[in-house]
Symmetry: D2
Subunit: 360 residues, 4 copies
């Protein structure tokens, strides 16, 4: 009871971290869309662990096997199933903590929710590994939106207290975003080293750090999305908050807009070469839940990895007794870098849902 999203684009996620495999069934994409397995692999590699010194040592191939819905390199129009078989799993690392709730994790809540029947190896269905199918689906959404002229990419706005400048709507272009997502550590300013420093330091101290990811999409025409329940914000936020570790989502000026006057928050409309534009972009490219043609801007707060090596107070949730836990296993001191393509995928999927709705 967790696995379905969307009306025009329909996603069904499945899998557990240490089970046979994880994957996604995607229904609703039009027939004839080119599917480039190389591009899918590239996206998967961006999220995959072990690719970067800042990330976990566990190396997963994360190879997506296309089981259906693709024929001769194009979508058939019928449901697409992408399967990622699990390999290199070491369930035994987790053996000794099976009844101790790891703080910040879903061990206790999952136990209650599923009456103790859920697969807890490696976090099971709650594992961050489940974001891999989301990235796979996002790769298809990216291919779909590319035909509509949409480009989207994200940068690391902050790691712990190291923060760089946010996107500026006035100089955002598809090319700049494209370059951003080719970067191994996507930042706008030269803050990579300072950010990496925070990650190394946390690791040394058996701790972890979080950060904020800012994502932009350019090229969306005005008129995507709907008022109320199907607003671009509602759709994007519902996917973004699906991502384990995301605890905040904001569009445009976000929480800062609450401290502005209306005269500053309102984006004045104007015409540039016959195109409708706004002079500022406090509303993040969305008015009344509908795109206005300006860049879509969204930020997601990613909490620090809950798995840390230092001892923590907790309970044994079966015995209902207090306990101390030291989380074993291989863990990223920071998942923000790996979350970048996940956040992009969430926005791409939400925009695809909107685009498929409007193309009637």
């Amino acid at each position: 009871m967790s696995g379905n999203w969307g009306r025009n684009l329909r996603l069904s996620i499945f899998g557990e971290s240490h089970g046979a495999g994880i994957g996604m069934v995607i229904d609703g994409l039009p027939a004839g869309l080119p599917v480039d397995e190389g591009q899918i692999a590239t996206e998967m590699a961006r999220r995959a662990p072990g690719k970067d010194p800042a990330a976990t040592a566990r190396k997963e191939a994360d190879k997506v096997r296309l089981l259906s819905g693709v024929y001769n390199g194009k979508t058939t129009g019928t449901p697409i199933c992408g399967l990622i078989e699990n390999t290199n799993t070491r369930g035994e690392d987790y053996g000794n903590i099976q009844t101790l709730a790891r703080p910040g994790h879903a061990d206790y809540t999952g136990f209650v929710r599923y009456g103790g029947f859920n697969d807890i190896r490696g976090g099971g269905h709650f594992s961050g590994r489940l974001t891999a199918p989301l990235v796979f689906a996002g790769a298809l959404a990216r291919a779909f939106l590319a035909r509509e002229g949409v480009e989207a990419a994200a940068h690391i706005l902050s790691i712990e207290d190291v923060r760089e400048r946010p996107f500026r709507a006035e100089d955002l272009t598809g090319n700049k975003l494209k370059k951003l997502r080719e970067m191994s550590f996507p930042v706008l300013e030269e803050r990579e080293e300072a950010m990496r420093q925070r990650i190394r330091q946390a690791k040394e101290e058996q701790d972890s750090v979080g950060g904020v990811i800012e994502c932009a999409a350019v090229g969306c025409p005005a008129g995507w999305g709907s008022p109320f329940f199907d607003s671009v914000e509602s759709r994007a936020a519902s996917l973004l908050f699906s991502v384990p570790a995301v605890k905040g989502v904001e569009f445009g000026a976000g929480f800062e807009i609450a401290a502005m006057r209306g005269s500053a928050a309102n984006d004045a409309l104007c015409l540039e070469k016959g195109q409708v534009r706004t002079k500022t972009n406090r509303n993040g490219g969305i008015n009344g839940g509908i795109t206005n043609g300006m860049p879509i801007i969204v930020r997601a707060a990613v909490k620090p990895t809950p798995s840390i090596a230092r001892p923590q107070q907790t309970i044994d949730y079966r015995a209902l007794e207090p306990a101390e836990i030291q989380v074993q296993g291989r863990h990223d001191p920071c998942i923000v870098l790996r979350a970048v393509p996940v956040i992009e995928a969430a926005l791409l999927l939400a925009l695809t849902e909107c685009a498929l709705e409007i193309k009637k």
Copy 2:
């Protein structure tokens, strides 16, 4: 294309600001739930305009007429339709701006989305008035959740730059929340006058202000919600971002958690009188998308009212020509106070959706 939400609890919203009426069909509530029309009226009054010097002068009865699904004061188990007939509408006030896009509003995006066929009088379907049916639905959700022992209320955390303290998980009780929602200006500290001062000042300067609303729910047992797409956060956020003017949503420590270390962000679990608790509540009562038994805490950023009396630059969206606009009519300089019960309703409805899912 905007009007449906939920799977276990199903909402269908309809109406335009200056049409015949607005309302909601609510399906999925169990039979036999007491429906107190007085309590519905009380909730509606909290959102209604004209109740407070800080709000608009337009007085709407916002009386909900129960057309179906309620019999002998109890739900029948079949769909409930609540209709709010529109009265006291003065469509003519808006006549002179019908092709000028009001900055910060959905005039231009609605025009593109619906090809110019949407009812633009008073904002039509995009009007903040459409939050009234949400409050009605929220009143039913509140009655349902009361039987489960859940109480929820919100306070005004900030108006412009005037900010009070946030909720403290450790001293939140159902009784305190109940008192909060009986306050005409719900605040935890004595900041009402300072906040009202900001609103008055903005009004005098033909401007408007926004703010942040913080909402809490206590009494939810552990185990509501689902991982991934059906997380408590995803469901609540999709409703909260349906509310016009909301541009940011965060749970627990929210964006601040991104600057924390894991050792601080992780809520250590403990036992209090045999109950599982967490020592801190950085995760806002939710782990892995599922409630953990601690208070649910969510904050929503509400932008300043876009309708301001001072002249603004814009375009005529039919003629595609630059223009200046001075928004006429009666407008709140601040909608934050009236949005309080709306934010509560969004959280109550999301929790009801989760509760109905789990009660199987």
Copy 3:
């Protein structure tokens, strides 16, 4: 828990027979569709009681009040709510049978399903009166499909054992169907008097009769619908079986196809003036769940009105005691004639759902 249907076209029904009103919220129709209130009234009149000597004496206006989603005679693109206020209800007629289950009705099952909380006056939410909102929605679907060149109408194929010839795919035209739905008693052959005779006879004998309605749609292009769960048949059947009293649905040759050889059941394809056609139409215009360009043919079996004046054996479902019942009140001895526009509406709505899916 009964009231939602559709993905592209979304219907929300509400109301009880003797409550304040009944209605439907329709979401997903495109903006700019002409809404002719006269045509809606015409469709409603076809279903309304009291229009024909063969029908009940209760005269209901069944006037649809358009509460939202229509502006200047066109759809706005936002949800459309049509409300039919209940008038001329005489709840007292039903008073004496409130704990006796009327055989063939949902009295007992509704009592169990809703724990005794459902509104039982006049059948409540189970009343055939709830088909009125379906006819209203069907009128909008008809307007939408007319723009696509689709025409649909039904005839009374049989009343009790009086049966006329079925549609012949080879001579079906939009004009013939149009004439059919202008007939007060739609039949292809001169069987009206024989059919009416059966109805009169049943009435005299304090009994009732049923019949079969056959509905056709012409003008659907090839390519509407989807394989498997979203087949044209699945969608149409789910709506048709929503109609109280329908106990069988078949497409094309239907049950007779089960006795055919493949060589007879397969519709040979051919070209007529460059158009793809089939020589026969055993599959009722649908292959693999998708329209093939031939007329869609569907038949629905309508059971005899369960309300009959003669004494029947039953139980008191509260006391759980055997009892005898004589159903009082005004009842049609045959609802087949009034069901004709309802069956048309179901097919029209299913086809609209398919058309909206494919127009991407």
Copy 4:
């Protein structure tokens, strides 16, 4: 665009006949349900080809690989993915007919629907092979319903013109149904040889035959299902009409009820040992869309296999030219026997959807 069904129980189907694999993701089943892989294999074997002289020679293992949602032999409560890898496919058999529409198949409609991008090898997504995942899902539904005391099974009511007696509600028991589904050729009377004779004869004449399958479920309590769109009939029919080859569905007396008088069609209620029963079962165990505690009875008309060896008139749908086709490959002269567990699965899944709705 075909692959999603259900609200409480959510099914996502995927796959093509000659692609990598076919399967189903099932979400919404409770945690802790025992999953017996042997029982799943037994159900799969009932549908599998090559098991019976009356069926095709193609031998498929149809082994279901459980990728997720099952742990230690029990459901985890998270989505269950069952994958059936395709083996022993011989795509080349179909090579020479790739632009000729096989009459009675979806070749032409699929081509139009998906713009020529669909995988046509072996019928692709339209293949009857896609019913295998439905049987897998049905096996899980059967396990769920067994805990509720429900047993369901079907028999072959007719093959071509050979017909046996229908179920009699008065002597249906769970044990009898259990025995029925253990039969290799499930019939109530000794009509197996006569039916097989029809199949052999059709095969000799390079033709095929269809038939009617009747399915019953006993043990459902009163009160499952909902009025209108979520009626038991609507849910079951939408699944049954998903099954390729089904062209008619009827409940209880079905089409025959249309020729009855109300006094015969109404099922008189009575009490037997304190249990509410009906003396007859014309309504097939369902009133107002809700189960009444009597056996659920449904019949499905299965058309003769469209693939026949004799020459047929058709068109080349790319060249739009008339043509003659002789369908090559291995084909059943009758799929009715193999369809029996598919029809059972459809009913079981619909009842599970209803049961999950009501258990709130």
